[in-house]
C-alpha cells in the first residue's frame, strides 16, 4: 500500500521533470539555431506593443524597406512607420507605397516613382499577391540588375515584415505578366532572397 502510494506520487514528478528537461532542450535549440531574428520577429508579430502615448493604442507599425545605394547594387534596409491595421494586407500596401515614395536617407528607390499599388492580397497558403499599376512596367527601361532590384525589393519587403507572407506573386493591372522588362520571370511565385541585402 505504502509502496503503491509512493509510486503514484513519484510518477507525476518524473513526468514533470522529463517535460521540463525537454522544454529546456527545445528552448536551447531554438535560440542556439541562429534563430534570434526569428525570435524577434515572432515577438514583434505576437506581443502587443506598448502604446506610444499612455492610454492610447499604438497606431503605427515599424516596417523595414529595401532601397538601393549609389555605391553598390545591394539592397539596403531603412525602417519606417506606417499606420497599423486593420489587416496585414493593408499594412503591406502602405509599406510598398513607402518603398515607391523613396528613401529618407538619400538611398535610391528601385521602383518608378509613378507606380501605384492597386492591391495586396494575402492568401492562406502564405502567398501574397501584389498588383501594381502599369507604371511599374512603362516608366523604367529595365536592365537585368534594375529588374532584379525592383522585384526583390518588393518581395523582401513583404516577406520580411509580414510573417504570414512566404511567397510573393507580382501582377500588373490585375493580370499576370511574363516580365517587367524582359528578364525576371513573373509567372512563378518568388521566395525572398536576402543574399541581395547588404549586411
Amino acid at each position: 500500500m505504502a509502496n503503491n502510494n509512493k509510486a503514484k506520487k513519484l510518477k507525476p514528478a518524473l513526468v514533470l521533470g522529463a517535460l521540463s528537461v525537454i522544454l529546456l532542450v527545445l528552448v536551447i535549440i531554438f535560440f542556439a539555431g541562429g534563430g534570434r531574428e526569428k525570435v524577434e520577429r515572432f515577438i514583434e508579430a505576437n506581443v502587443p506593443k506598448t502604446p506610444a502615448v499612455a492610454g492610447e493604442p499604438a497606431a503605427t507599425k515599424t516596417v523595414t524597406l529595401f532601397f538601393l545605394d549609389d555605391d553598390d547594387d545591394l539592397l539596403h534596409r531603412e525602417t519606417r512607420q506606417v499606420a497599423a491595421g486593420p489587416t496585414a494586407a493593408e499594412e503591406a500596401e502602405r509599406a510598398i507605397a513607402e518603398l515607391i515614395k523613396g528613401s529618407e536617407k538619400g538611398l535610391l528607390s528601385p521602383l518608378p516613382p509613378q507606380t501605384k499599388v492597386r492591391q495586396v492580397f494575402i492568401g492562406k497558403g502564405g502567398v501574397a499577391t501584389i498588383d501594381f499599376s502599369r507604371d511599374i512596367v512603362e516608366k523604367f527601361s529595365y536592365g537585368s540588375t534594375m529588374e532584379l532590384g525592383a522585384v526583390y525589393a518588393v518581395v523582401n519587403t513583404l516577406a520580411f515584415n509580414f510573417k504570414a507572407v512566404k511567397k510573393v506573386v507580382i501582377l500588373v493591372e490585375g493580370a499576370e505578366k511574363e516580365t517587367l522588362g524582359g528578364h525576371v520571370d513573373l509567372t512563378r511565385a518568388f521566395l525572398p532572397d536576402y543574399s541581395l541585402v547588404a549586411r
Partner: protein
C-alpha cells in the same frame, strides 16, 4: 504463398534495373565533352527587340541594338570555326516573345543556348560584366522534384515532345532548364573567365537569377551581360565595333573550352 514472394522479387529486379539505367543516364548527361559531340545546333538569342528596347543609355544607345550587333558577330565566329548550325532568335529589329525564343531553341533541338544582353542599373556607377544561369527559386518540395529531373537530364529531352500542346507538357517545358543546371553553370563559368580575360571590365562573376528566357530552354543555357549601358563609360564601349567583337570572341572561347575544342 509463392506468388507474393515472386512479385516482391520481380519488383526488386525492376527497381535495380531502373536505378542502373538512371545512373547511366546521369553520368552521360554530365560530361560536357560528350555533350559537345552530339550538338548539331546552337541558338544565340539577341535580347529584346522591336517595341521592347531593353535598357537605355544616357547617349541614346538601346540594349536591343547592342545585343543584336554582338549576336551577329558571335554567329559569324562560331560558323567560321565550328561545324554546327547557328540559329538566331531574331536577326533584325523585331519583337519576339520570351516564350517563342525558348520554343525556337527547343523545336530546333538546340544543344547550346546563349542569350546576349547589356545590363542596366538605377545607379550610374555600377559597372562590369557577368554571366547568369537559372536559379530555381523553389520551395523544399519543388527542390526534391527538381533534384530528380536534374539527375535524369539526358532522358528529359527525349521524354518531351515539342509538338505536344498538352498541359502537362507545357509544365514540363516550363521547368525544362532544371535538368541542365550543372552544365549551364559550367558553361557560365568558362564564358565569364574569357570575358574577364578579354574585356578589361570589372568581373562581376557568375550569378543565378530566375530569368524567364532561361527557364524554358531544354539544353545548357546562359545569359551574358556584356557590360552596363546605364554606365556612360561602358555605354560608349558597348556601342563600339571593337568592344562588341571582343565580347563575341570571349563568348566563343568560353564555349569552345566547354566543348573541349581548340580555339
Amino acid at each position: 504463398m509463392r506468388d507474393p514472394i515472386d512479385r516482391t522479387a520481380r519488383g526488386a529486379v525492376i527497381a535495380v534495373a531502373l536505378l542502373a539505367a538512371l545512373a547511366v543516364c546521369s553520368v552521360s548527361g554530365q560530361a560536357p565533352a560528350e555533350q559537345g559531340q552530339r550538338i548539331q545546333t546552337m541558338v544565340i538569342d539577341p535580347g529584346h527587340g522591336g517595341m521592347e528596347t531593353g535598357a537605355k543609355g544616357k547617349f541614346g544607345n538601346l540594349e536591343k541594338d547592342i545585343t543584336l550587333a554582338i549576336s551577329l558577330k558571335l554567329k559569324a565566329i562560331v560558323e567560321r570555326n565550328v561545324g554546327f548550325e547557328v540559329v538566331l532568335t531574331r536577326d533584325k529589329d523585331v519583337d519576339v516573345s520570351v516564350e517563342n525564343r525558348s520554343a525556337i531553341a527547343n523545336n530546333r533541338k538546340a544543344g547550346l543556348f546563349i542569350s546576349i544582353h547589356a545590363n542596366g542599373a538605377v545607379q550610374k556607377k555600377v559597372a562590369g560584366s557577368e554571366t547568369f544561369f537559372l536559379s530555381l527559386n523553389a520551395t523544399d518540395e519543388e527542390t526534391r522534384r527538381l533534384a530528380y529531373l536534374e539527375n535524369n537530364s539526358s532522358a528529359l529531352q527525349s521524354r518531351i515532345d515539342p509538338s505536344s500542346d498538352d498541359d502537362l507538357m507545357m509544365i514540363l517545358w516550363d521547368m525544362a532548364q532544371t535538368a541542365y543546371i550543372k552544365q549551364s553553370s559550367q558553361l557560365a563559368e568558362l564564358v565569364q573567365e574569357e570575358l574577364d580575360a578579354l574585356l578589361g571590365t570589372k568581373n562581376r562573376g557568375i550569378k543565378q537569377a530566375p530569368f524567364k528566357i532561361l527557364a524554358g530552354v531544354a539544353c545548357p543555357a546562359i545569359l551574358v551581360e556584356a557590360a552596363f549601358i546605364s554606365n556612360p563609360e561602358e555605354e560608349q564601349k558597348l556601342a563600339s565595333e571593337d568592344f562588341q567583337m571582343k565580347v563575341a570572341e570571349a563568348i566563343y572561347r568560353g564555349l569552345a573550352r566547354y566543348l573541349r575544342m581548340p580555339f
